[in-house]
């Protein structure tokens, strides 16, 4: 449970705060961090939300809609961290993760699993692989929580 316990406080639904005075438009990219993030998520609205958020934070964002495309793009772009959905067509997250870890270059690439699956078996199996760096339930967290987790993992 260890690593997940650390993130528990982050995952607790936080009450909405007052809007800050940030007036930057969401579409502008600010590559201030020089970090690359790969979002593998088939739900466009969720992938877009994460893209907006991480672009604001200065990440270069890549998106893939299934595990197969995700694998190819990871090999091509070599991101610093991956956000991975589990239930996707063509190739699901579990399979992609397994294939990723079989590739020597990506054995230790941080991967944050994001899911809404009701069957927690997936979680147990992912844990057994010992290769997911964090596990989040999408409807229980906010994009800002994901940012915190990512920054923690990248020691930013």
């Amino acid at each position: 449970m260890g690593i997940f316990d650390n993130f528990k406080a982050i995952f607790t639904a936080s009450s909405p705060q007052q809007p800050n005075t940030n007036t930057n438009n969401s579409v502008e990219q600010q590559p201030t961090t020089h970090k690359k993030i790969m979002i593998v998520e088939d739900e466009k609205v969720l992938a877009d939300a994460l893209e907006i958020k991480f672009q604001h934070e200065g990440f270069k964002v890549f998106k893939a809609e299934n595990g197969q495309v995700g694998l190819d793009m990871i090999k091509q772009n070599k991101p610093d961290i991956v956000l991975l959905d589990l239930m996707m067509p063509v190739m699901d997250g579990k399979t992609m993760l397994r294939r990723l870890r079989e590739t020597p270059d990506f054995k230790y690439l941080p991967v944050v699993v994001l899911t809404n699956a009701g069957e927690v078996d997936n979680i147990k199996e992912t844990k057994q692989y010992d290769n997911a760096s964090a596990f989040l339930i999408k409807s229980n967290i906010n994009p800002e929580d994901v940012v915190k987790v990512v920054k923690d993992l990248l020691r930013m």
């Binding site: 800050n20 005075t21 907006i52 958020k53 809404n116 009701g118 339930i137 800002e144």
Partner: protein
Amino acid sequence: MKENKNLIVYIFPAIFISVFFCGLTLIAPKLNFYSFVLPIAFLVLIILNILLYIQLIRGQMSRNISEVKPIIDKDISPAQQDKIKYEAILAYIGEGLVVIDKAGRIITFNKAAESLLGWKEDEVLGRELTEVIRIDYETSINESKLTRSRQSSLYFIRKDNTKFPAAITTTSYGVGTDILGTATLFRDITMEQNIDKMKNEFISLASHQLRTPLAAIKWYTEMLLKGDAGKLLPEQTQYADTIYSSTQRMIDLVNLLLNISRIESGRINVEPLPTDLKKLVDEVVQEVKIRYADKKQTFTTKYHEPLPTIAVDPRLIRQVYINLLTNAAKYTPEKGQITINLSKNDTDIISEISDSGYGIPDADQDKLFGKFFRGLKTVTRENEGTGLGLYLVKDIVDISHGKIWFKSKEGKGTTFWFSLPLSGTPAKKGVLTIEA
């Protein structure tokens, strides 16, 4: 002889009536003056016939019984009568029954066992049990798209080598300490497994399908509130706040339903760990305090010292404290008092959660732990409840081998107690955990 008697009984009235009619037609012309006599006489005769008919039938039945009765009374002893009775019962119960003697040979094999296993009774009597009941333990991985559930099932193999999942109960029988054999009852649980599989798939589908749009609403609202799309006007912020909190309520409900369903499916993983309940309560109190900070309530904790650590599943018990303390905060007005007391006796640790709140009306008290139950008054006071919190709490306390009870007076407040055995919760291997 019987058949002849039947014929006589049916034909006799018919003949009588026919003869009567013939007679009437002959004498009728001479009875003009008394023309009413005819129908009355006819009616009387019909009634007499019916009475005679009934008597004859009764007579025949009692003759039948009296023919059989001497056989029962004279030829079968009480022990034999019992044997006939039990054989009749065993032959036709729905579950398969196989009884073996001390040597492991089959001495009873009922009709249900025949139909479930494909063997006939005369094929198996006297044979070794293991020759007839072949067992396969299968770890079947249900490869459905949505659930990758693993179920370990016991399968019986039929005579034709097909198999079915079985639920079995085995008991030994004997006289005093001398065991004479064992009896095994079993049934085919294919349907139950299918229903369970369908239920899990539905839950998985429902939770995933519901949670995805909920996540989308929640995320975009949060981004709006954080100013990711530009600064909001105060009124816009207020509207967005409302959307956010309503969405959160729906998410909480889905989570609650999921947890309940996991527990009810019996597949929940119960992983007892040595748990310091004081520490758990302190953490939960902090969370609830923050959440209800604007109500300015006082939370007091009292712990019996020393309080031993206890083997319970901390995720599950945490959920109990969260639900009970959240209820206490919700249903207590501003500046109210909430007290948590942990104590122990010889066998259990008792947790007491007490509030100075609205109390529970008498009429609602015996339905309190029911699914989806919300008292009328609670609904008007506090919109946020789902009616499932206490249902889940009771489920968890039950599987932790504890007990839960309460006392409440409307207008005065409520106290909940639940006990957890010092001996701890037994571990239960399952494939699910609840999401805390």
